[in-house]
Amino acid sequence: MTSPSPDPVDLRVHAQYRRDFTEEADVVVVGSGPGGAVVAKELTDAGVRVVLLEEGPPFTPADFEADGGISMARTMREGGLRTTRGTVMPTMQAIALGGGSLVNSAICVRSPEFVLDRWCADYDLERTARADLESHYDAVGEFIGISPTPDEVQGPRNLLFRDGCDVLGYESEPISRNVRGCRGSGECFTGCRSRAKQSMDITYVPAALRGGATVLTSVRVEGVLCEGSRATGVEGTVVEPLTGRATHRFRVNAKVVVLAAGCMATPVLLQKSGNLANGSGQVGENLRFHPGVAVMGIFPDEVNPRFGATQGMQSLQFVSQGFKLETLWAPPAIPAVRLPGSAMELKERLSLLPYAAIWDAIGSCNRSIGRVRPRRRGLDPVLSWRLQPDDVGILTSALLRLAEIFFAAGAHSVLPGVNGLAPEMRSLEEAQVLRTHPVRSTDLVVSGNHAFCTTRMHGDPTRGVVDESGRCHDLDNLYVADTGVFPECPSVNPMWTGMAIAHRTAGAIADRV
């Protein structure tokens, strides 16, 4: 005997689309990642008729792939092989219901006060200090269960980081994550089979659905529709999951349009819609990343790195110096590709994986600025970005700190992955070469974690795309709710700050609809 299924909800998947169609809404939200999902749920709660659009499909646990390469090819735009031009660096954007939250490691950190104060001072913002955002952080944190990672699921590779920091007198702390009931399987990046990660597809989106929102998946928005200086809706193509094959056309008419397609897609959408909302000339400009570098450490005893929270410990000790340190794990093939050498040398290094831990650093590289432009065909972006020498210095300093912590924790060698230096260093003295060696941007293996600023908020309409409520300066009823609105790097993992700002944006929209 089973109880009936829950009340029917209006979620549509690709197999349900039979013909071209048009929907009506008070608010249409483009993108179901951490920004869009929050806006959709909060507006639905406020009694607003919302249509939430997502190009990717919902992924169920049956759809997850534990293999890193296959998983990325299925869940990431451009198969996970998107790179920047200039300084070539891989960067990713998910294509799935829930956006990046489905395949991130759930790290939630409030941006430091000094960062938000600088945003306010340098970008003419009056309501974006930490105190202004606290209630929004709290509301989001409570809803998705943000809490520190417990020791039971840290596993040795996370706890060794704490040990190393303790020896050196560096601050460290368990990472707070949007997770309930983590089992330490270390599978955050390929989809949490334990259903512990409170990603948007199992929190905010279901809540919006229960509240009456319509959620259309497998729909690719290709343009924002306008009449005069007002947005009137969006239009685009229905696409088959995973292949992207176009099957039908659709349109959603709405009183308010919210773009939350991510900071690499939202500017492209505006540019492809007739260079919309670009009176300031800032759409697609100011692209910034938190470039990441990582060090692998080899310990004398087995670490069994596959067990433990994907990213369980962090140190904020050096955030004011431009970098944050954290622990890391990924499907084994991903860290393994960092190992130097080939043939027997490579096989020998691979056999050390059970003794290895990987810790990484993300840099607040505010001096390295790029831009987003559309390709001639399609909606994938061209990302131009160059890592500046000063920011290379930040990242090499971070590498040295990581090496320090490894040796303090008892590692017998570290692999910093810097071209031109010894692939394996067996002492801290050896690692000191990172202080003196002239490292170029192309010598580092960097990854483009977290992207921002391509539709930045600014109090001055001539210098920014949106105001503090996320409303475009040029169009009264067009909003942006993703990390593109950040004026600079947030210095820590951006999800919680992006959601808090989106929460505030939802409030502003609810007040007017």
Partner: protein
């Protein structure tokens, strides 16, 4: 001078066309995406990166890298497939520009001896040209993923995927599997379980082994 350059370019192009048109051995199975030439390149490179012996017994050939890469290409978008194919092509024919040491160093990568292949890849890895190093890292990354996908390698390294009882959450009542219809959702509200108190995968493994 211009004439000399034209002759060199024409000769190179001619050589490239001849090499590209050359026959390759029949692959061990029929692939959905990989061509026979690409399967041969993958096999040759995998065996070079992961020779037999050592602490991990399996070699690159044992791991059947072409099968993994065929699946990867199959789930990838056309642009990515093209890029990966260009990578294989570049590896196979790079000896035209950067010949392997020893006799016949200008032959295709797949026609070189094991030592020559190793020398070619080592030269890629230590090249002063960023693009050449990138080629090496890209190829090694793909082959490492293929190698570590091989269950015996996973067993040797203790990195097999966990066995996990996946709980059912409320969202699972809303979403069909990819490609399915709402009628394909297998769960009802009675199936919903809290995602807690199930222990860690280590507990489970310990329970199994005891």
């Amino acid at each position: 001078m211009q004439g000399v350059i034209l002759v060199v370019v024409a000769a190179s192009l001619g050589g490239l066309i001849l090499r590209a048109a050359a026959r390759y051995p029949r692959p061990r199975q029929r692939y959905r995406r990989l061509l026979a030439s690409e399967a041969a390149i993958v096999d040759a490179a995998a065996e070079t990166f992961f020779p037999p012996g050592g602490q991990i017994q399996s070699s690159g050939a044992d791991a059947d890298a072409p099968a993994y890469l065929d699946r990867l290409l199959d789930v990838s978008q056309p642009r990515i497939r093209t890029l990966v194919r260009l990578l294989f092509f570049a590896v196979e024919h790079a000896t035209l520009v950067f010949p392997a040491p020893g006799r016949g160093g200008f032959r295709r990568f797949t026609k070189l001896s094991a030592e020559q292949r190793m020398a070619v890849l080592d030269a890629f890895a230590s090249s002063g040209l960023f693009a050449r190093r990138l080629l090496f890292v890209s190829l090694r990354s793909l082959l490492t993923m293929a190698y570590l996908h091989h269950p015996p390698v996973q067993r040797d390294l203790g990195i097999e995927p966990w066995e996990i009882d996946t709980p059912v959450c409320e969202a699972d009542l809303f979403y069909p599997p990819i490609g399915g219809l709402p009628g394909d959702i297998r769960f009802t509200r009675d199936d919903v379980t809290a995602p807690t108190d199930r222990g860690t995968p280590l507990d489970r493994a310990a329970g199994k082994s005891s």
